[in-house]
């Protein structure tokens, strides 16, 4: 311990470089993961907050709510299927609307209050009641843009009053408003004239299953396909791809962290071969030298990780709200542990070198 800390204190320069490298790596990984989480959570909130266990889409929609269109009669058909406890129509419309502070990009969800496909993350107020066609609950991000409870939001020629607030319920990075199916339909025909005159339909059917029933075990009604809510979330265009790309960048960066630390300590050990030989000659065990190096790796990575966390938090504060980042404590803890473990593994590689140092080389003369 004495050696480990004295060296960090008195040979600060070289440790600042490794701490800096690790801080940078942690910062990078945390920021990437915040982006990955931000994209994922911002895209899938409507599903993750839903009380539905699955959704039935039209079979050509590939699980996308936007592309899917199912006839209203399918709802009754799904209600007949054993294992389905609730089936309700759900309508989705991506459109701009007008709030108290001007224009808003929105995802309008038409739901059947009391049915399936309803958000469960209400933090204040309430959801619209059946038949209450001029009311909506909105995601907290809409409130952040100035449309709190009591405000009016207008989509096309239809206006609704905000009666409740939900949390983490957005869809495809668009803030959601949750209204009744008739209101959704009215908004749709107002902003999408091409949908007027079509037979009445929904975007999809939200399903609630009896326990023990899975999406795969439901026989789909003709012309539809059933996905579990989790599958539907991953089927949102781009979600899977973004997540796997960002995750592979994150894993690569962690590998780089291990390599950087391995290289750093390999260099340190190489540089200190003579000193380590002398210390061994004086009666220091290989184990004690190994402990010294491992302690240094641990201290350097912990300090680096802390600096990286602080830096990424500061970035999170100054980033404009349009950048979809989400700094989750769970990801932060996971990444911190990964980085520290990667560093420790990197440092482990230098232990073999330490073990191989021959104390006999410490004495002068031909032995060196």
């Amino acid at each position: 311990m004495m050696l480990a800390f004295a060296e960090i204190r008195r040979a600060r320069g070289r440790f600042i470089s490794i701490i800096g490298a690790l801080a940078l790596i942690t910062f990078l990984v945390l920021t990437l993961s915040a982006l990955s989480d931000g994209l994922f959570y911002g895209s899938t909130g409507a599903y993750r907050s839903s009380n539905a266990n699955g959704y039935a889409f039209s079979s050509d929609a590939e699980g996308s709510l936007i592309r899917s269109r199912v006839p209203v009669t399918d709802v009754a058909k799904y209600q007949q299927i054993p294992g389905v406890t609730k089936a309700s129509g759900v309508g989705v419309l991506l459109s701009s609307g007008t709030g108290p502070n001007g224009e808003l990009d929105l995802a309008v969800f038409g739901i059947e209050p009391g049915g399936a496909g309803v958000p469960t993350t209400l933090t204040s107020g309430r959801l619209p009641e059946p038949g209450e066609d001029n009311a909506a609950a909105v995601d907290k991000t809409v409130v952040d843009k100035g449309a709190g409870i009591g405000s009016t939001i207008k989509v096309g020629d239809r206006a609704v009053t905000v009666v409740g607030v939900t949390q983490d319920s957005n869809y495809q990075l668009q803030p959601t408003i949750w209204t009744t199916v008739p209101t959704w339909r009215a908004m749709q025909s107002s902003v999408r004239p091409e949908t007027r005159g079509l037979a009445p339909n929904y975007s999809a059917v939200a399903l609630e299953f009896a326990s023990g029933t899975t999406a795969a075990s439901i026989p789909p009604v003709n012309g539809t396909a059933v996905l579990s809510t989790e599958e539907a979330a991953l089927a949102i265009p781009g979600v899977k791809e973004q997540r796997s790309t960002l995750n592979s960048i994150i894993y690569t960066t962690l590998l780089v962290a291990a390599l950087v630390v391995a290289l750093f300590f390999a260099l340190i050990v190489l540089e200190k071969r003579e000193l380590f030989a002398a210390l061994k000659a004086l009666g220091t065990s290989t184990r004690r030298l190994a402990n010294t190096v491992m302690t240094q790796a641990l201290v350097a990575s912990v300090i680096g990780v802390i600096i990286g966390i602080v830096a990424s938090r500061i970035l999170g504060l100054v980033l404009p709200a349009q950048v979809p980042t989400l700094f989750r404590t769970e990801s932060l803890i996971q990444i911190s542990i990964f980085t520290i473990v990667a560093s420790v593994i990197g440092a482990l590689f230098s232990l073999r070198r330490i073990a191989r140092i021959d104390p006999a080389t410490a004495l002068g003369g031909a032995l060196q």
């Binding site: 004495m2 050696l3 004295a6 060296e7 204190r9 008195r10 040979a11 003579e274 000193l275 002398a278 210390l279 061994k280 000659a281 004086l282 009666g283 220091t284 065990s285 104390p359 006999a360 410490a362 004495l363 002068g364 003369g365 031909a366 032995l367």
Partner: protein, 249 residues
């Protein structure tokens, strides 16, 4: 200590040398590339004696004291330090032997560059299995005082002169109250006057503390501070009477 064991120790002191090297050979490598660095060497040193080991470059001086100090294992022969057979020990036992019973002074002082003079002494004090911090701190201060380093105690080696560094190295070698002090060319990095001072200091410490010391040197002028002179030539060790200059010098 009872009078009985004290008497026994006395008998041991006079009856049996503290260090006994018997027919020790060290061969590096195998087959036709084998080099016999030390051939059938025997020597014994009494407690309290400071001896010098002379010989030309490549004659086997470092190899011999490395075996005595438990840094190398002899190819054949035995080495006994007090009641311990150094030549039979495992690597692990040798590590504790060096920590507890042997003090080394290297050619270049090899102090820990990021520890102060005082901390360099305290570091070796922390190596033996049972050590006492308070005792160590007191002893370090005493030694530093004796070596004239009291006001340099909190400097790192970089801030010390070559002579001061070698004095710290001597303090470090004495720190754990070893039975044996091994010194390999302590003056190589110093000028003559400084080298003489350092060797004088070594001789004084060894004498005062009743230690046993072996010093490897190229420098015939340092011989006057030692009690016995051994000479090694091509691995063959002989005791010199100190009157005729050894060959190769």
């Amino acid at each position: 200590m009872t009078t009985n064991t004290a008497a026994e120790a006395d008998v041991q002191k006079t009856g049996r040398p503290i260090l006994e090297v018997l027919n020790v050979t060290k061969t590096y490598g195998e087959g036709h590339t084998a080099v016999t660095a030390v051939a059938d060497a025997s020597l014994s040193v009494e407690e309290g004696q400071f001896v010098s080991l002379l010989g030309p470059s490549g004659s086997g001086k470092t190899t011999l004291i490395s075996m005595i100090g438990g840094l190398l294992t002899p190819t054949s022969g035995t080495i006994r330090l007090g009641d311990q057979m150094v030549s039979d020990m495992t690597k692990k036992e040798l590590t504790s032997l060096r920590a507890e019973r042997v003090g080394f002074v290297f050619q270049s002082s090899n102090l820990v560059p990021f520890l102060t003079a005082r901390e360099n002494l305290l570091y070796v004090a922390s190596l033996p299995k049972n050590h006492n911090r308070k005792v160590a701190a007191k002893r370090a201060d005493e030694l530093l005082g004796e070596l004239g380093l009291s006001d340099r105690a909190n400097n790192i080696p970089e801030k010390l002169s070559g002579g001061e560094r070698q004095r710290v190295a001597i303090g470090r070698a004495l720190m754990n109250d070893p039975d044996l002090i091994l010194v390999d060319e302590p003056t190589a990095a110093l000028d003559t006057a400084l080298g003489r001072q350092v060797v004088q200091l070594l001789a004084r410490e060894v004498k005062q503390r009743g230690k046993t010391g072996i010093m490897v040197t190229h420098d015939l002028r340092m011989v006057e501070y030692t009690d016995q002179v051994f000479e090694i030539l091509d691995g063959h060790l002989t005791k010199s009477d100190g009157t005729t200059p050894p060959a190769g010098h």
